[in-house]
């Protein structure tokens, strides 16, 4: 077991866990019961996806995917904000 | 006189000095490994982008007491760890019976938007508490707590641990 192998397999496991986590949040999106639950589920999905990308960066030893995660971190909240605002006000931009 | 003029020129060039610094830092981080070229660009960006912010007319940020900031961050770090631990336990089903979630109304003292924003970030960053609603007139904050042992306890935590520090930072 080289260190590299440990990292590779460890991150692989982490990915599985994160994917599982995505599945669970998708479950919340699916069953609701209310709109805000779904929005929360989506937010979590985004979050997990971002973490997944980061882990993937490590696993592939490549920073090329980092920007995707960065974008999710910086402006990923836009869609959740829009959804929340839609729920709150009935319209996104007033 | 000269001082005032220079101050105004300074304000013209650097309307938001903290922002400029932050932008510079972020750019350097973003484009790491960054050499002198990126430093130049970062400088230009740090000078130019805040000019755009002028149009959006945000309230000026005044920050004091950098020491308080560090204390705050440290405290936050510890709390995040602790609350993560607690929340994870709750989620995983420990203390299922004794736990009671609920809302807490908290009277806040500070009214600085930035302070409030920081407080909101703090509250939300610690799993187990969520910022729900804030009334501008009565300055009452509605908080949702996952593990509501004692209302007053929470009020104290918020007041003593964070609000006071924040009021120190944002006068």
């Amino acid at each position: 077991m080289t260190p590299a192998a440990i990292v590779y397999w460890g991150t692989g496991f982490a990915q599985v866990v994160l994917a599982l986590s995505m599945l669970v949040s998708a479950w919340r999106i699916l069953i609701g019961p209310r709109a805000q639950d779904r929005v929360l589920g989506l937010d979590t999905l985004y979050l997990n996806a971002m973490l997944l990308i980061l882990v993937h960066c490590i696993r592939m030893s490549l920073t090329a995917y980092f920007e995707a995660a960065l974008i999710l971190a910086i402006i990923g909240f836009t869609s959740t904000v829009a959804l929340a605002k839609f729920l709150m006000r009935g319209e996104v931009i007033e | 006189m000269i001082a005032r003029i220079s101050q105004r020129v300074f304000q013209q060039i650097l309307p938001h000095p903290i922002l400029s610094v932050a932008l510079f830092m972020v750019w350097m981080l973003m484009s790491s490994p960054a050499g002198t070229g990126h430093a130049t660009i970062a400088l230009i960006v740090a000078l130019l982008v805040p000019q755009v912010m002028r149009a959006l007319e945000p309230d000026r940020v005044r920050v004091r007491s950098p020491l308080a900031i560090i204390r705050l961050l440290w405290r936050l770090f510890l709390d995040v760890l602790a609350s993560n631990w607690n929340t994870a336990r709750i989620v995983l089903g420990y203390r299922k019976r004794t736990r009671k979630a609920g809302f807490v109304n908290i009277q806040l003292e500070c009214s600085n938007r930035y302070a409030l924003a920081c407080l909101a970030i703090i509250v939300t960053s610690t799993p187990g508490t969520t910022w729900v609603q804030y009334d501008r007139y009565s300055r009452v904050l509605l908080l949702h707590v996952l593990d509501l042992r004692d209302e007053d306890d929470w009020k104290a935590i918020l007041h003593d641990r964070y609000e006071s520090l924040l009021m120190e930072i944002f006068p």
């Binding site: 696993r59 592939m60 030893s61 490549l62 090329a64 995917y65 | -």
Partner: protein, 112 residues
């Protein structure tokens, strides 16, 4: 990996097609969106699947087999943009139609 992606594309397509055949404009737009994903992934799949080999070359001699096929990626990029634009357009048309005709049926009037 291939089998998973293939099945995924299939499911996205099936859902998209099902929605595309529905009578409500909103269903159609969601269907077009799903189909868009499916088609984008389909084009992407045409470059074969290769993990950890983004087409970011290093100066010097290039071992072309060490990189993912860049062509489908470029095509998908173009397709993403275009399908985004057209989704927006269809959305506005459907809104206008809803406003003018008073129904959200794809025909602009309720079926008899």
């Amino acid at each position: 990996m291939e089998i998973i992606l293939a099945i995924g594309i299939g499911i996205l397509t099936a859902s998209g097609v099902w929605l595309l055949l529905r009578p409500r404009t909103f269903q159609v737009i969601i269907g077009l969106g799903l189909l868009g994903y499916a088609v984008n992934l389909f084009i992407f799949a045409m470059g074969r699947l290769k993990a950890g080999a983004p087409p970011l070359v290093h100066p010097g001699k290039v071992d072309t087999s060490a990189y993912a096929d860049p062509v489908p990626q470029a095509l998908v990029l173009t397709a993403i943009v275009i399908s985004f634009a057209l989704t927006a357009l269809y959305l506005v048309v459907l809104l206008t139609a809803r406003g003018i005709t008073g129904t959200d049926h794809v025909d602009g009037h309720e079926a008899e």
